[in-house]
Symmetry: C4
Subunit: 250 residues, 4 copies
């Protein structure tokens, strides 16, 4: 059943295989954070991570993503699916029935077009999706949001699954913003990061600020933060603190 023209994981260099194994372990484990922070229900959310290759390696670029339709309780490192950057599963030793997440094409598009992205997360977390249903960006009115996102969390276009339109919408919207999160219209948030853990952190923070700013607006009269103060918060958090503590905020 396997396609002999596709790269076969077992024939790749040992260093690549070891990196894939480590990535699978991380990606499997990080899904538990989506559950812990109540960003997902049933099987409706996914994490992926680009496999880090030695510079100069001629191995194909790969990423690891959740299998489709497997519940979070049952995820194991071995069940994580390995794909090339065109979004196709390679023969990675998992059973053929373990197909990659139905959002794989969107993840792959991001990896192909944003070289510095090492991890991608997609959820339908409640408050972020509510802003998305109104096609409304989340305004930056709390300092934590200035620290993390450097301004508003933008809205991406409405796009149907099935081709590259979701991936294109994510990439185009994020390129016009300092934010690591985008709310795809009527759909939900996608977040990016330097690795999967960083993208998960962005997903957790995105829902947290979506909720807090929503609740702030419920009683009216939210006070904006001046743009120069947002710049100051973002600059300090990303640069000054970035050198000392990698997942900094506390």
């Amino acid at each position: 059943m396997s396609d002999t023209s596709r790269p076969v994981l077992a024939q790749m260099p040992a260093a690549v295989q070891a990196e894939v194994a480590a990535t699978r372990e991380r990606v499997a484990r990080l899904h538990a954070e989506l559950v812990r922070y109540e960003l997902v229900i049933w099987t409706a959310g996914n994490v992926s991570e680009r496999v880090r290759l030695e510079s100069g390696s001629d191995a194909p670029e790969l990423f690891v993503i959740k299998p489709s339709g497997v519940s979070y309780d049952e995820l194991t490192p071995e069940s994580m699916v390995v794909c090339t950057l065109d979004g196709t599963k390679i023969d990675d030793g998992t059973p053929d029935r373990l197909t990659p997440s139905s959002d794989t094409a969107a993840h792959a598009y991001v990896y192909r077009h944003m070289d510095d992205v090492g991890g991608v997360v997609h959820t339908h977390s409640t408050y972020a999706t509510a802003w998305a249903a109104r096609n409304e960006p989340i305004p930056c009115v709390i300092t934590m949001m200035g620290d993390e996102f450097g301004g508003e969390i933008p809205i991406g276009p409405f796009a149907l699954i099935g081709d590259d339109s979701i991936g294109q919408g994510i990439v185009e919207t994020l390129r016009g913003s300092r934010s690591r999160a985008v709310l795809m219209a009527n759909h939900g948030p996608f977040t990016i990061g330097s690795d999967a853990k960083d993208a998960v952190k962005a997903a957790v923070m995105c829902e947290d600020v979506a909720r807090t700013v929503h609740i702030a607006h419920q009683l009216g009269g939210v006070v904006p933060i001046a743009p120069e103060h947002i710049d100051s918060l973002f600059d300090r958090y990303q640069n000054v603190y970035g050198q000392r503590a990698q997942d900094g905020k506390d």
Copy 2:
């Protein structure tokens, strides 16, 4: 004390007894999902599943349902009650004091009138019940809802317990909709599925979209999804993905 005119489980063919035992185990376990997703409190929600019979079997049609007034912590496969499709408990080896859920008549009505339904769930989950208190259907404004329900989640009539009016309201409303969930007016959601797990998934998704769409409306200006896009989402999710991954969404 047992009614000798009623079927007795212990005298049925071994294959039926084995299927009943497997169904009891599934139904008991699935109640834990209602608790996990916070769809129920105390004893206020129930799951049932139709017992699958070999085609051509002349055994009576049966379903398995939660006993009345037993807390979720104490549910065991053995305490699940076996009923015929008229909603009457058979002599199934459980003590006489274990009567079936007070909603049994509604479940039975659905099984009698919808042949393809294999599982039914009833809860009073918070957000779905809030829409029900306004007698207002949940509009389809997020893609997950298009995927799962193919449009709005409809309102069923107000009906009192005690006869077939709840069951009739469920069946009539669902027959006029693509949705697997109905909000009975001033009461709460009932969901159906191909089996009990599928109906539980529908109950989880129903509350999730009820919450997200509620929150979206709190700040006004929700953007609808075009009907042809809803058709496209539903068609793809039910058909294309349906062949690959049975509990698909991720």
Copy 3:
């Protein structure tokens, strides 16, 4: 240090001591339900239960209540405080520093004036307290509320701690209602029951309907249930189902 004029538990009949021990065990354990259903934080809520005596017993009437200022994690049967119906701790073998809950006077007043009450619960659960802050009864717009409370959950008067005014407000309000829950103005809910478990169930249900009805009202247009239908729901649930399954709702 003990007051020799007060009854001393160790000198009471063995049957009373056994009943006190069983009551302590139940009351200690039921506080965990307040935590599980998120009705309380820190030490801010309490359960009590009247000690059941043989009819004709000449032992003094007693009830068991949470000690003041002890966190829910640390509660043990032995730390539960035994009081007479005037709200005074008896010499029950617990250290003198374990004083009864600061709400003991209100519980005692209810036991003195409502003979059929076997359990009392007080919380500051979020949604019920929000209705109380508006001095607004919770209208009966969902069937579960008709089943459990037979109509609206009423508001009691504003009363300060320190004398019998809280107890009086509870008793006067509940006597004019079918409800087992009262929202003391700007304070929070008190619930009663045939025993402590039944009062805890009323506290859980009170917060659940307070939340659901609040959320229903957030988007306007809640549809009332006709009074005769509320009567029918309450009557059936309390009488027909009451004979079959004591904690019925499912």
Copy 4:
């Protein structure tokens, strides 16, 4: 790598070292309460406690605080950072890479200027931060708030991280209030207490009343409590009950 001009913990008197060890244990453990009550996500909140010294001790004043960028799951007593009251880490045996929380300067300012403060907590808890985003104090409309805070929870000024302006804003606002909590504008709550546990209790209660009062206002018509009643509640809770049960409310 250590700065020889800074005090070195290992050379301090044994009694100080023992007190530091006990404080580290308490501070590490109390962070779990922030998680339990859902006041924090990721690493975004911190607890500190002043080290209690014998009166007349000539040891430098110290406090213990969370390390920056370490997740709550990984906190241990040994990883807690020891600082002098100018907010500088001393050579306390922890690796150099464990720097104190980025909010350390604000904690230090409070300890320098408020002698009776033994503990400080900072979170971005959802509802309190929502009031802060509107620069709106939380009005005292429930008795629990009168008990705990003696009136409204005030708003502090907008202040950027990097100098003493956050600390100054906290101290100036709290000096003008009976409240142990202040909502720093567009930022989040800081709470103080006689020790770290007391400050954590204030953080838990602050979020609880922020949530309840928010929800009360959502449907309009909140009824205020008369100022003399607030005085009575606060006085009784702080004084009468204070002598009997230190963390009293129940």
